[in-house]
Symmetry: C3
Subunit: 337 residues, 3 copies
């Protein structure tokens, strides 16, 4: 069990209080147990932590306490994340191919990789060093997952789709299903446009449970380094998602949307095809985007407009029933209509 002093060294923290207190685990302020390390971002949360049994509190450098031992750091959230990793390391399965897995002789699986029960790795597929292909995952022909990438369970990577290094792909994810492309024939039938491109995912990407990413019609659907997708997201064919983009749950991107680096797409927002979302743009939840979004802009509403305009319209809308009465009163005064 490490002491507060040892954790202070580990985090390069400024220790205030008892350096010898033992820290047993990490906890949340509202459910901490004796011996836990918790974190507090401001004085209000620190006051809550002081009332609980936590042994130490990770706080921003400016805070102080007469009651608890503090670990004062530059970024309390980041430091606490490091503590959680220390106290609760993620279990990785042992390297090797499970006896039940079906791995093509023409696949290349690194010796240090782990391939789980009932996994299927087809011809020409590649699994990188220390990568984990979880139980029931399917890696199609010539697909690839990079070093240290983890596919949780029940993940389907279609043929020729490629994931980079250190990605984390949650259960039920589908990468490389066909784009939704049809063209009418003379009789009004929807003739399938063959979807023969692929998906290329960069490094350090996280993909949430049951999210779907369609392959490109031709070329590649791409997801840039460090981008994070939440659960149940839809990425259409030929989308180009940049680096460090955040895509919250249930967002839906039509085909050929470009999302530039650092953009934030909040929950349930939707995007028409062939748009560009500028760098560091923010799209508020449930917004509907039908045109390009300039860099750095916050958009809101369905249809979406800049957030400030949307809020002005909304505030005015709430006065609308009363406005109708006021206009009626004016009309009466003027003897009109």
């Amino acid at each position: 069990m490490p002491t507060a002093r040892e954790l202070a060294t580990f985090l390069q923290a400024d220790l205030a209080g008892d350096p010898e207190v033992d820290v047993r685990d990490v906890g949340a302020i509202d459910s901490a147990k004796a011996g836990d390390a918790v974190f507090a971002l401001d004085a209000k949360y620190l006051a809550l932590a002081e009332q609980g049994p936590a042994a130490v509190v990770v706080v921003p450098r400016a805070l102080s306490s007469a009651h608890k031992t503090l670990l004062r750091v530059d970024d309390a959230r980041l430091s606490f994340a490091r503590l959680v990793e220390k106290f609760r390391p993620v279990e990785r399965p042992l390297p090797g191919i499970h006896a039940t897995a079906v791995v093509s002789r023409e696949a290349r699986v690194a010796k240090t990789a782990s391939v789980g029960a009932f996994a299927v790795v087809e011809a020409g597929a590649e699994v990188g060093e220390r990568a984990v292909v979880g139980p029931h995952c399917v890696l199609g022909a010539r697909a690839a997952v990079g070093d240290d990438t983890v596919l949780a369970a029940n993940v389907t990577i279609y043929r020729e789709c490629r994931l980079g290094a250190r990605c984390l792909v949650h259960a039920g994810v589908v990468v490389g299903s066909d784009g939704f492309g049809f063209t009418p024939d003379a009789k009004g039938n929807h003739v399938k446009v063959p979807q023969v491109g692929n998906v290329v995912v960069g490094d350090d990407v996280e993909i949430g449970a049951n999210t779907t990413i369609d392959r490109a019609t031709l070329g590649s659907t791409t997801i840039g380094d460090g981008t994070k997708l939440d659960n149940l997201v839809q990425v259409g064919h030929n989308c180009r998602i940049g680096k460090r983009v955040i895509v919250a749950s249930q967002v839906g991107l039509s085909g050929s949307v470009t999302v530039c680096d650092g953009a934030i797409l909040l929950g349930q927002s939707g995007y028409a095809g062939h748009l560009t979302i500028g760098e560091r743009a923010i799209v508020m939840p449930q917004s509907g985007i039908s045109g390009d979004v300039p860099p750095g802009t916050a958009m809101f509403g369905s249809p979406a407009v800049p957030r400030m305009e949307r809020e002005r319209i909304w505030l005015a809308s709430r006065k609308l029933p009363e406005l109708l009465k006021r206009v009626k009163a004016l009309e009466k005064k003027l003897g009109g209509e």
Copy 2:
């Protein structure tokens, strides 16, 4: 083949008409076949049933018919549900572990439980009495499913997540994927906040196909007894969903949302983080909730306001194009601007 009389006894129904008529099956009014039992909630539907070939009609006690044998009950829908169960009992697989399943020696599987083809049950996992782990389900390390709980197929329960008794979990469900938590480092990269909590699901919970429930960052994401989630629902990390809550399809809950007992969240509605939805509150479809909802309140719209206000705003909005003209006319009259 039971007679109407026997069914009346079974349902504690008041029989009106021919007690000896044989009932062969259950059916819907619009597609009933001869010999079917159907149900009608009011005189209008009973009239429809009278035109069809049904042998008996389950109705509220107040109704009567000159043409059909009736089973008059307190709650026609509930009684009919019991008839359906009687005529079309759900098949349960036989107890035992399928030859192809991979079950850890360190797992505890009840003798009366059924573990299907290619199921994976990892170390420390528990499967209760008469529980069913369907084909291709994965039960992670130290996960648990209670007595009589059914996991349909392709269900993934991550490590340490627990389901109570008599739950029904449909295909493709993911319980215990990581919450969507990142914190920026100095370079603007999204550093993962480790997600080391779990999910605890109560008794009598139904979870619809491809729904995802994220594990807590620390502590537990909880779903209360008797709550029902439809398909493609997203439940974020650390949500606390109460008892007998209804969550319709494609609802999205951000992290740390509290939903109190008996609330009803309708289709495609979305919830920002850290909110509380009061007891028996109703959220209308596609609503966007960004603040607490008081108990018993009906909310509507994106952004959501009390339903009556939203409807007043909407009615007024439809007059808005005309209102613009009326104001212009007034301005003209006044010689203004």
Copy 3:
């Protein structure tokens, strides 16, 4: 490697330019390589193609070029789709049942069908000629897939559900999960309404990744011939979807919705129960439909109204903050209130 002349014959195209140029592959205008065939729907795209290295351009008959060999056709998109199929034929797995698959002796699997690794085919299920049941798919008891239908991977077809011929079902799809039906008992518990119907899917239907289609309470949920569903769509119990319907990603249909032939339901739109969407109606993205939609009508917004009305309301809404000021000015002029 075919020449332009050979491709012109194949497409019944009118060739303009060098008939002997070799065509190596198909490509997109913005990423074409030397030797590629690309397509251009109008003069603007043709100009782009002329600047690239493509060997031939498939274009509408009206276009001409001084720089590139053209294949002039009636429908450039359709002809190009045929070229893509020619150059990049989809690999089909070999016929036969994989050694690891679990196929009931009481199932009927055509000799020409392919059943993949770890597939489960239960008693009474049927697999048609040349059909493909991909790895990890589950075909429940008495379920059926027609001739030439492909289930990609991790697809779950519940008991008794039937798919027609030439369907394409993407990874993670669930067909036949229970409808979301409950009725309250005297204590306020949600009692399950048994879901004992099935799902019947016609011919030439495509179903996108992780889409869910619930079985009927009684009778059948139906999807008509030639209908295409995108990813993450929810189809409730007892829906009746007609022929050649387009359902874009993340659309949600409540129970008992009727969608008539040729309708187009765009992304994230939602539908209350028991509605009818008329033939060739179009529902714009994110719209919320709570009443019947007449044939051929375009609906927009949440709540949805005819598209033109919605756009008028929206344009007027943007003037609302200013309108408030104008009314205030009028009131001031009139010395009112």
